[in-house]
């Protein structure tokens, strides 16, 4: 029965295009529609989207490398934000940095915070993988076989990490007053500088990851491990080590994402959960397991969400990401870039 319902790739694209046109028409008809609002919607959408994209990148990376979906990834995002904030509070009172760099004071501290979040979350991710997830694979077969156990463990880990963060930092939302400078004017639009930081840093991290995966030897090894653990073993790759590295990199990227949103919003213990869900939607929209797709999916979800809450209804802001995910799953289940390379028989 379902065979008859298949519509083919062209049909998928036509139906999806119709949906997109309908949606654009709806937005254009809105009374708020003008070029100014469109500009700000696009900027906010892109800056929020890159955050979803970064977390989705980590989820996709872990999915390709370990064959499991990491449901505690939002918590690495949250703890990354706290790690950045802690570093910020440590450096914020130091006069000597101000004396050395009076002009670029805020920037340098912020870059140090980003770096701290990156490194500490990377190490923390490796620790979590080694201590909590690796023992589940003891029975043999690696992550592929232990998949369901790891997914459940991910949910549990999420609760545990939230509560540990609750004990350490208590549930009050904390400001992250990074001094990055005055708002910038781009195309007649005054933007808080943090938005530009989000987009620039996020894209550089994604580009760095692309370079790392495609141009370095370790990246080659990671791609090999992602495709097949057995064959990677046979060419002499230390597969357990590489699995830790993959997990660590994914968590480090989530940590950077957390520190990036800190100055724009606030840092709070419960920020990871909704980000995880939206990043999951972004990964599905882009094509699950596809890394460029994760970033594109993040942008799509971010712009769709911002535009919808601006032009359609602001009171259901968190609904749109999942609406988009459902529509994509119905019409184009592989997502935008979910193409598998098939072997010739």
């Amino acid at each position: 029965m379902f065979n008859k319902l298949r519509i083919g790739k062209k049909g998928e694209n036509i139906i999806f295009g119709t949906f997109v046109l309908l949606y654009i028409g709806w937005c254009v008809n809105s009374p708020d529609m003008n070029i100014e609002s469109l500009k700000s919607v696009l900027t906010i959408g892109l800056s929020v989207g890159i955050i979803y994209g970064l977390v989705a990148l980590g989820i996709s990376l872990i999915y390709t490398g370990l064959d499991v979906v990491n449901f505690s990834h939002g918590e690495f995002f949250m703890i990354g934000a706290f790690a950045g904030l802690t570093m910020f509070n440590l450096l914020g009172n130091q006069d000597w940095i101000f004396n050395i760099f009076p002009d670029a004071y805020g920037w340098i501290i912020y870059v140090v915070c980003l770096f701290t979040a990156f490194v500490s979350m990377g190490l923390f991710g490796v620790f979590i993988e080694r201590v909590f997830l690796r023992p589940l694979t003891k029975k043999g077969g690696g992550y592929t076989v232990a998949g369901m156990g790891i997914i459940i463990c991910g949910f549990g880990l999420s609760v545990v990490l939230i509560n540990v963060a609750y004990l350490i930092w208590n549930p009050v939302a904390k400001p992250f007053p990074a001094e990055l400078g005055l708002p910038m004017e781009i195309g007649g639009l005054f933007l808080p500088i943090t938005y530009i930081w989000m987009i620039v840093v996020g894209l550089s991290v994604a580009a760095g990851l692309w370079f790392f995966l495609n141009k370095t030897k370790m990246g080659l090894g990671i791609r090999a491990v992602a495709y097949s653990k057995d064959v990677s073993n046979l060419v002499g790759i230390n597969v357990p080590l590489y699995i830790s590295i993959i997990f660590g990199i994914a968590c480090a990227i989530a940590g950077i994402g957390g520190t990036l949103v800190g100055p724009t919003y606030q840092v709070v213990v419960f920020m990871g959960y909704i980000i995880l869900m939206k990043a999951f939607a972004a990964a599905v929209v882009g094509g699950f397991g596809n890394l460029p797709g994760a970033i594109v999916g993040g942008f799509t979800v971010g712009i769709f969400e911002t535009a919808s809450s601006f032009y359609i209804s602001g009171s259901h802001k968190d609904l749109y990401a999942f609406l988009l995910m459902i529509v994509v799953l119905m019409i184009k289940p592989t997502g935008f870039f979910g193409v598998q390379v098939k072997m010739k028989a």
Partner: protein, 250 residues
């Protein structure tokens, strides 16, 4: 050939009373094997007799439960797989085990993953292209677009990239046209003449025995018959238990 015989100095790989299997299923029930330096040894047997299991145990993909595997005078049965590759023992899997979304060159570079210097990597790349000129013609194509014979060449070439002392081939002739099988077997002979030791697991008994110096026939997880390949080819028990037997039953 005469030249080769002089150089032979003892055994490179010794498998002693090896017991292993998957999960709780025991496949090998005490297999004994020895592979001389710079020889080609064929390991023959029907489906499900444990040929590939011996290779997987030797290359560290599965644990050996009992018994020893000695390579180059060193016990390797409990080392992780990547360290066994580092010691010069490389398993070449069947042709479908390449990385399909990577180019031929990238696949080969992965084979030399344990090499430290780039110079050595490019030297070995040249060497492999010299063995298999077809791969050179297709070096920028994705591995997924190669034909069956080219995939097998790619797998063997990938195994040669890490400067191994010995390679173990898992059914290099599986599902290939006879002409290509001949080509690949000629290249295996060339590889041996360049100083490597080769262990071939095969179902194509006649071809394998033509190629090899020595043969082992495995049945139910133990080595049943062994001997010089010329002798094995006319051995009645081999024909009965392996060649004739399966044919008659099928």
């Amino acid at each position: 050939m005469v030249n080769q015989k002089k150089k032979i100095g003892g055994y490179l790989l010794k498998i002693n009373q090896l017991i292993s299997g998957y999960g709780s299923v025991q496949i090998l029930n005490g297999a004994n094997m020895k592979v001389e330096k710079q020889s080609i040894v064929a390991l023959l047997g029907g489906n499900g007799t444990g040929k590939s299991t011996i290779l997987r145990a030797a290359s560290g993909l599965i644990r050996s439960w009992q018994g020893t595997i000695e390579f180059n005078g060193e016990q390797i049965q409990n080392l992780p797989a990547h360290e066994i590759v580092g010691r010069g023992l490389v398993q070449v899997t069947q042709g479908k085990d390449v990385f399909p979304a990577m180019s031929v060159t990238e696949n080969l570079k992965l084979g030399g993953f344990i090499l430290k210097s780039k110079q050595q990597l490019s030297d070995n790349l040249e060497k492999v292209y010299n063995y298999f000129p077809r791969l050179n013609e297709r070096k920028d194509q994705l591995a997924a677009t190669l034909s069956g014979g080219e995939l097998q060449m790619l797998c063997i070439g990938r195994g040669l990239m890490s400067n191994p002392k010995m390679i173990m081939l898992d059914e290099p002739s599986a599902a290939l046209a006879p002409q290509i099988v001949l080509d690949i077997f000629k290249n295996i002979n060339r590889i041996r003449q360049d100083g490597l030791t080769v262990l071939v697991v095969e179902q194509n008994v006649r071809m394998a025995l033509l190629l090899a110096d020595y043969g082992y026939v495995i049945k139910d997880g133990v080595i049943n018959v062994e001997g010089d390949s010329k002798k094995l080819m006319y051995d009645e028990s081999v024909k009965e238990s392996y060649l004739g037997g399966t044919k008659a039953n099928v």
